[in-house]
């Protein structure tokens, strides 16, 4: 596909890199030639210097033949304008990043009336993801498939966990759990689990199961599975704002610490008594302790400084037993931060680019049994995709054990008649099923791609 990306910030760059790797032709537009140089020396994309909201520049980037235009500049208005012009200049689908709550609340209107294919709000998406994890604090990350009927849950095995020392295949016989272990990350290695893999302490594993079975599993390995009752949020920016909205709705008692007095007033006016707003500097340990850090069920660090967020979370880890959520803006140091034992890390930029990449993948193959949902299990290495089986094909005729699957492919779940089946060798995929496939090969476009 020919894709034009306007705005070469962190999100634009991440998008260019990921979409290019998946075989799309990418043209990036930015006013800053230096940034374009940087991105085009990192990956195989073309750069066009200029204002992306002008017809001339869009033409130079080849808008007439583009299939998709993604506007991710820093300004909402510019993004919307880019989309409008692209819509008129070419006949492509358009995606805009819109982060201001005022516009964002009008997203459906914008989509319909301006003909946008997608309006993405990174802060809102990040808040939604945080809220999801707080509902299930034992997990590091939760993705859902098949309209919420199947969950992909990532967790770290604690010390003295009953799983340690067991092999994957002994799971159902020894513990009686009907869950499927997809991947295991150990140190810097990540792989798709097979029956003989033995769990070790501090492994990060991901499992697929229905929500009920997952609860069961967590109980059996002595994990708390109750949702968070009270949360302490540091930083009252946009994400904090959206997060409060969701948490208040969920009935969580929220305490938000904001440095800026004016912003504190604004936040206070918004919710009244439902949210406790504290005007104070969270980098002062006394403030945190005074406000009950030691008793908090969850601690969410959302300041604008990555370093501060990490330090705050580390402090919270040492002082209490709260579920930690840390927001990190810079994607570059992911590998280092991974080792810090900070429970859940939220990368708003990755969430944005992942959402868009997911959309592009589903665009690519509009017919047949195409990708319905897509989640990265391990970034850039292993992903999980959901397919709806519409017609019978090579995969629907024989039991799974007789199919010649590619290496690194795992049929993780089948949803049939609203029931989740964790597939065994004798199961058969039938038309009408929803199937979740975990793969180490990102070139999965159709269900038949899983075959050799």
């Amino acid at each position: 596909m020919d894709i034009i990306i306007i705005g070469c910030g962190k999100v634009g760059e991440a998008l260019a890199e990921q979409l290019n790797e998946q075989g799309n032709n990418i043209t990036v537009i930015d006013t800053d030639a230096k940034k374009l140089n940087e991105v085009s020396s990192k990956c195989d994309v073309m750069g066009v210097t200029g204002n992306g909201a002008t017809h001339l520049v869009q033409q130079e980037a080849g808008i007439e033949h583009a299939d998709l235009m993604i506007a991710v500049t820093g300004s909402d208005e510019l993004n919307l304008l880019c989309c409008l012009i692209a819509k008129k200049a070419g006949n492509c689908k358009t995606i805009a990043r819109v982060r201001s709550p005022q516009y964002s609340s009008e997203a459906p209107f914008l989509k319909d009336e301006l003909g946008l294919a997608m309006v993405i709000n990174p802060e809102q998406a990040a808040a939604a993801e945080i809220a999801r994890v707080l509902r299930f604090p034992s997990a590091m990350k939760i993705d859902t498939f098949c309209r919420g009927r199947v969950e992909l849950i990532k967790l770290r095995l604690p010390e003295n966990c009953p799983l340690v020392g067991l092999a994957v295949k002994e799971l159902s016989s020894k513990l009686g759990c009907d869950v499927l272990v997809c991947t295991i990350e150990r140190g810097d290695d990540a792989y798709i689990a097979n029956g003989n893999t033995v769990f070790e302490e501090r492994d990060v594993i991901s499992i697929i199961a229905s929500p009920k079975k997952a609860n069961d599993f967590f109980r059996k390995i002595n994990y708390k599975s109750k949702s968070v009752k009270d949360a302490m949020i540091v930083g009252g920016g946009e994400i904090g704002h959206y997060l409060c909205d969701i948490l208040v709705n969920d009935g969580v008692s929220v305490k938000i610490i904001e440095k800026d007095a004016e912003r504190s007033d604004e936040l206070c006016a918004q919710w009244g008594n439902a949210v406790t707003v504290i005007n104070g500097d969270a980098s002062d340990q006394e403030v945190l302790l005074e406000e009950g850090l030691q008793q908090a069920g969850a601690f969410v660090a959302l300041t604008n400084l990555d370093e501060e967020n990490i330090l705050l979370s580390l402090f919270a880890r040492s002082e209490g037993n709260a579920k930690l959520v840390t927001k990190i803006n810079r994607i570059d140091f992911e590998d280092v931060i991974k080792h810090l034992d900070l429970d859940t890390i939220i990368y708003p930029k990755s969430i944005t680019s992942d959402t868009i990449v997911r959309y592009v993948r589903s665009l690519k193959n509009a017919q047949g049994s195409n990708v319905e949902q897509l989640h990265q299990v391990i970034k850039g290495k292993i992903e999980a995709a959901e397919f709806i089986i519409r017609d019978s094909s090579a995969v629907t005729e024989e039991p799974l054990m007789k199919l010649k699957l590619k290496d690194g492919i795992l049929v993780a779940a089948i949803l049939r008649d609203k029931k989740v089946v964790i597939p065994r060798g004798s199961d058969v995929i039938k038309p009408g099923d929803m199937v979740v496939i975990v793969s180490a090969d990102s070139e999965l476009h159709d269900i038949t791609d899983i075959l050799r």
Binding site: D2, A33, S41, D44, V45, M46
Partner: protein, 478 residues
């Protein structure tokens, strides 16, 4: 420095060189020449080393930085020439290896300077190999390889930047690979068109193929001692037109195909044709008294001007005895060269434009010290980096030029010979004036001078920096 990756790409270069050898091998079969043995031997050597370097163990770390790109490009060209010279040497048709190397480098760099006094003595397969090296070298070997070998894209850009002529490289389409394929497609179609037109003019297929290869790469190896002299006016006009076509920026053709005529007629292309038109007219009137007929004077001067400015180096008449004005203009044209992004050599028209404009800017700034002024090309501001790299290019160019002149003057030939010999090799033209004029050759130079000129040809083709970086100690430091 990623040495494993460098040797991996060099391995591919050798594999492709072996594939290139099939062209002269087939010719040898057609004409029943025994030279096929030597092409087969060379191809086998190349293939063996190439497979050894590429297939045994693939490099784990595929990351290339810009210095790796430069080193890969310059080493590739050296390796290509060193092995490409083997058939000439092994068959004994060019007895000295240094001469054979000179001839091959002259071929790949599309210079067209020869050390042979009697070209017609070479076997037909050797002649076609000579011309074919022009064709391969014209568009760039690595660009060709990039179109076929799967490397991750961004890294290709470092290589393409280092190999392509001109102050800045722009892609036509987002992917390097597609860009490379497009360029080669244009190149191939133009070559084919010339081949057909030459056949229509009564050339034998062998003559037409050689001439098309040599024109496409703007090389200039002839297959007769008189180069293209003695061919009909029609043939000469076809060659003139194609020499000029191949010295236009290939991006222009891309825009033409897309129907964007305005984008195709860049200021560089317009100025290039203006220079050509003015030079042809001045020289034609200048040599009219010598030739007699004005029409013929125009034909001769058109051929000489196109041949020199496109840096091809074909000749129909000897321009050595022409009046000084004409000779001086021709020498000036040698330095200007073709457009950036073409197969031609020289300093390049766009660099000359940028130089003049930045000179104008500097003069203005002297008059109005606080004035803000930007150098513009085609209505767009040229960024400071490009202007600076053009100035540095000229400095490096002059230094190389002077150093080469000093080194070859040890041979005690006259100044014009030395000057034009260096100019003709650095700018990848071929013939110079006096002893190295269109009817003469480079065979009389000493071994040292030949090595200097070989270096000049390579440096000129790769736009100086890749070759100079090879001799910069910092390149090899960790």
């Amino acid at each position: 420095m990623n040495y494993r990756m460098i040797t991996y790409i060099l391995g591919w270069i050798l594999i492709f060189e072996a594939i290139f050898m099939t062209v002269p091998a087939i010719t040898a079969v057609c004409y029943g020449e025994s030279a096929i043995v030597w092409f087969a031997v060379t191809a086998a050597i190349c293939l063996a080393i190439g497979l050894l370097l590429t297939k045994i163990k693939k490099p784990q770390d595929k990351k290339l930085y810009s210095r790796d790109g430069y080193v890969i490009v310059s080493l590739s060209w050296i390796v290509l020439s060193v092995f490409g010279a083997l058939p000439f040497f092994l068959s004994g048709e060019i007895p000295s290896y240094i001469d054979a190397l000179f001839e091959t480098v002259s071929g790949f760099t599309t210079t067209g300077a020869s050390i042979l006094s009697d070209v017609e003595k070479l076997s037909k397969s050797m002649l076609i190999w000579r011309s074919f090296t022009h064709w391969v070298g014209g568009m760039g070997v690595l660009v060709f390889i990039m179109a076929f070998v799967r490397l991750s894209g961004a890294q290709n850009m470092h290589i393409m930047k280092a190999e392509s002529p001109g102050p800045s490289v722009s892609k036509l389409v987002p992917r390097v690979k597609t860009t490379a394929l497009l360029l080669y497609a244009i190149y191939f179609v133009l070559t084919l068109a010339e081949f057909i037109l030459l056949i229509a003019g009564g050339m034998t297929p062998f003559e037409a193929l050689n001439t098309s290869f040599a024109t496409a790469g703007t090389g200039g190896f002839g297959i007769y001692n008189t180069s293209l002299g003695g061919f009909s006016a029609y043939i000469q006009i076809v060659v003139i037109v194609f020499m000029l076509l191949f010295s236009v920026n290939f991006n222009s053709y891309f825009f033409l195909i897309k129907g964007k005529i305005k984008d195709a007629l860049t200021s560089e292309v317009c100025i290039f044709f203006a220079i050509v038109a003015v030079s042809i007219t001045v020289i034609a009137f200048n040599i009219r008294s010598m030739v007699g007929d004005l029409g013929e004077a125009f034909l001769d001067s058109s051929f000489a001007v196109s041949s020199i400015i496109s840096t091809t180096g074909f000749s129909t008449v000897d321009f050595n005895p022409w009046p000084e004005l004409s000779r001086t203009i021709l020498v000036l044209l040698m330095f200007i060269g073709a457009c950036a992004g073409s197969t031609g050599g020289g300093i390049k028209v766009s660099r000359i434009i940028i130089l003049f404009k930045s000179l104008g800017k500097e003069l203005l700034v002297m008059i109005h010290p606080n004035q803000v002024k930007k150098v513009k090309l085609g209505g767009r501001p040229v960024d400071h980096e490009t202007v600076r790299s053009v100035s540095v290019f000229i400095v490096a160019y002059l230094l190389l030029f002077v150093a080469s002149m000093v080194l070859i003057s040890f041979d005690e030939h006259d100044l014009i010979t030395n000057f034009t010999a260096v100019a003709a090799t650095v700018n990848n033209i071929g013939p110079g004036l006096e002893l190295v004029g269109p009817t003469a050759n480079f065979g009389f130079f000493s071994v040292l001078s030949k090595i200097v000129l070989i270096f000049d040809m390579l440096a000129g083709r790769l736009e100086l920096f890749p070759m100079l970086l090879l001799f910069t100690p910092a390149t090899w430091k960790k």
